[in-house]
């Protein structure tokens, strides 16, 4: 493992920001620390950087314990949430700062800074001050400033939080490409799961100072290990029970149910494709149809329960109040102990994935 946190604990007064955090990150990976605000993810990042000191546990970089190594000697580039660009320095001086502090050769500094400026595509803007740049340009400068001194590890605290939604999507792509190009091991903090899923190779989910789950975006999505992850990832509705739903007779008392839109299928009764599954079908009424840009979001009332599903625009038109056949392929069941997938028993032997 290239970067490791071992049994890290940290308290701020009564508030536990980190409870026994353990994880390792391989060299070259781009990892997201994902969690709701106040979950402790930023604190974990700051402890890695050396900006905060953990109460107990070890931080290791390249196999060496760096607990007592000051932040400036850990070989880390850090992109702050609001970028913390030096407001009274030009773009050029911002990027050159780290190299100047290391007393690098003047010519070398100049070469490196110009290389960085062309890498981030801000040629011609090197004399500008930060407040003369757009949000996206500022983020690029912050990125260049962080990697100019050739750090071994790049840490980014909510790198997209301060940017307009419109530019954000482009910047995500840009940042991912840049990091791949530079080939630097990187960890970023975010509260936006879409962002984490899109950008990161691996995701670490943090909640209330605990590490909930770590893995690739797909594996986390498909196999949530804890109730928190099951709720947090994807869009999901939480139901108290599934009373009366065909195929879910054996749901134990006291377990809650998570249903995602992709677990629900709604079709017109004359649809031949689902002919073999009619024994598992419930009847539902369309309550609302919302156009989501590239698909429709249907809300259906089924057995007194409200379910949501997405419908391709290529399929037949549906109306509010229309009766539909509703299939529930599977659900997540969870209690305080953990989460599990429960498939519809009546669909046993049918290969749903082949549909």
């Amino acid at each position: 493992m290239y970067v490791e946190m071992k049994d890290i604990c940290k308290k701020f007064g009564d508030y536990e920001a980190a409870k026994n955090i353990n994880f390792g990150i391989e060299q070259g990976k781009l990892v997201a620390l994902l969690g709701p605000s106040g979950s402790g993810k930023t604190t974990i990042l700051r402890m890695l950087a050396g900006l905060e000191q953990q109460d107990s546990g070890d931080v290791m970089i390249e196999g060496k314990v760096v607990n007592d190594v000051p932040a400036s000697e850990r070989g880390i580039g850090f992109v702050f949430q609001n970028y913390a660009l030096f407001r009274y320095m030009t773009v050029y001086d911002n990027i050159a700062f780290g190299l100047k502090v290391q007393k690098a050769d003047k010519q070398k500094i100049h070469e490196r800074v110009m290389e960085m400026i062309s890498l981030i595509g801000l040629e011609g803007l090197e004399k500008r001050y930060p407040n003369q740049l757009s949000g996206g340009q500022r983020q690029r400068v912050a990125f260049a400033r962080a990697i100019a001194p050739n750090p071994q590890l790049l840490l980014l605290d909510e790198p997209f939080a301060a940017i307009d939604a419109k530019v954000r999507k482009d910047l995500r792509k840009w940042l991912k490409e840049m990091i791949q190009k530079v080939g630097i091991t990187s960890i970023f903090v975010t509260h936006d799961q879409e962002e984490a899923v899109e950008v990161a190779d691996d995701i670490i989910i943090i909640n209330e100072g605990r590490l909930e789950q770590m893995g690739s975006p797909i594996s986390i999505y498909k196999n949530p290990k804890t109730p928190f992850v099951a709720q947090f990832i994807g869009t999901s509705a939480i139901l108290e029970n599934l009373k009366g739903f065909k195929g879910y007779d054996a749901v134990p008392e006291g377990k809650k149910v998570i249903v995602r839109p992709e677990f629900v299928e709604a079709f017109k009764s004359d649809n031949k494709k689902f002919a073999g599954m009619m024994n598992a079908v419930e009847e539902g009424t369309i309550e609302s149809v919302v156009f989501r840009g590239s698909y429709l979001e249907l809300t259906l009332e089924v057995n007194g329960i409200r379910l949501t599903t997405n419908r391709s625009l290529e399929r037949r038109h549906v109306d509010i109040g229309e009766k539909m056949c509703v299939l529930l392929y599977r659900v997540y069941l969870f209690d305080d102990e953990g989460a599990e997938i429960r498939k519809n028993q009546l669909l046993k032997g049918i290969d749903i994935e082949a549909l």
């Binding site: 950087a49 050396g50 900006l51 932040a71 400036s72 000697e73 880390i76 850090f78 702050f80 949430q81 609001n82 970028y83 913390a84 660009l85 030096f86 407001r87 009274y88 320095m89 700062f97 780290g98 502090v101 290391q102 407040n131 400033r145 001194p149």
Partner: protein, 281 residues
């Protein structure tokens, strides 16, 4: 009709303000000039070049310059401490720094007399130091005493101007610079200082204005006219002498301080204006 009544209210309020302003603030300035020049320019010149006046001017300038330097050093360091670090007792510390704002300057003078004076507990200490070094420094009824009292009353002036600026700035930039391995001095010079430049200058002007005008605190620890008197004390001495001539001289010396005060106000307005322009950029 509503428009009309609004205009009337507006002009009444402006009228009240202008009258208050003229009576309370402008008229006194003219009064000083009028009384200073009552006996003609020649006697005005004589009053300003009297040896006591010149000595007082010298002491005033010494006290002002030293007070500004000491309080600048303190103000910058204390604001750095209060805004860049978290520690227990921070609120108490901030409150203690502001004490001189809320107490009578006379008490400041009193405090030094009781510490370093003839019966003060630190007197033996000072004597000991003087014996050891072969010096003859007195911390009451001397120029150093005047300087100390001046420092006391102007102590929080600079930190009070800088602390809000640094709070608003946050710590990110300093942390970012520290992450890259910059030393404390480099961080201050390159990152922090550009932020506080205008606030610091503003604080220095207010500090200087208060320092050269201080009366109560200095009055308590300065007794030797022509040696340890500052301009305000010299004015007091001339005024209390009571003769028509000496009162005119008192106003002549006062006009000098009025000039200094106006210069400070103009500088302050310029700094304020430049600072605002800088913000808008």
């Amino acid at each position: 009709m509503k428009q009309n009544s609004q205009k009337i209210v507006q002009w009444i309020l402006i009228g009240i303000s202008v009258i208050f302003f003229l009576l309370m603030l402008v008229l006194p300035l003219f009064e000083v000039i009028y009384r200073a020049l009552k006996d003609g320019l020649e006697s005005y010149g004589r009053a300003l070049t009297a040896s006591n006046t010149l000595s007082a001017l010298k002491v005033t300038l010494i006290a002002t310059v030293i007070a500004v330097i000491v309080n600048t050093i303190f103000g910058v360091i204390a604001s750095w401490l209060v805004t860049k670090f978290d520690f227990r007792g921070k609120n108490v510390l901030s409150t203690l720094i502001d004490i001189p704002f809320s107490i009578s300057p006379v008490i400041a003078g009193l405090a030094y007399i009781m510490t370093f004076g003839r019966t003060g507990w630190a007197k033996p200490l000072i004597d000991g130091i003087n014996d050891a070094l072969g010096t003859d420094i007195a911390l009451v009824f001397s120029v150093p005493a005047v300087v100390l009292a001046t420092i006391f009353v102007t102590f929080p002036f600079i930190s009070r101007e800088i602390i809000p600026v640094l709070y608003a700035e946050g710590r990110d930039e300093e942390e970012a610079a520290a992450m890259m391995g910059a030393s404390g001095f480099t961080i201050f010079r390159k990152i922090t200082f550009p932020h506080i430049k205008w606030g610091l200058l503003y604080g220095i002007i207010l500090c200087a204005a208060r320092a050269f005008g201080e009366f109560g605190a200095v009055y308590a620890v300065s007794k030797a006219r022509g040696k340890t008197f500052t301009l305000p004390l010299e004015i007091d001495a001339l005024y209390m002498a009571g003769s028509a001539d000496s009162i005119t001289q008192a106003f002549a010396v006062s006009s000098l301080l009025v000039g200094m005060a106006l210069v400070m106000l103009i500088l302050k307005s310029i700094v304020e204006y430049r600072g605002k322009m800088k913000d808008k950029e």
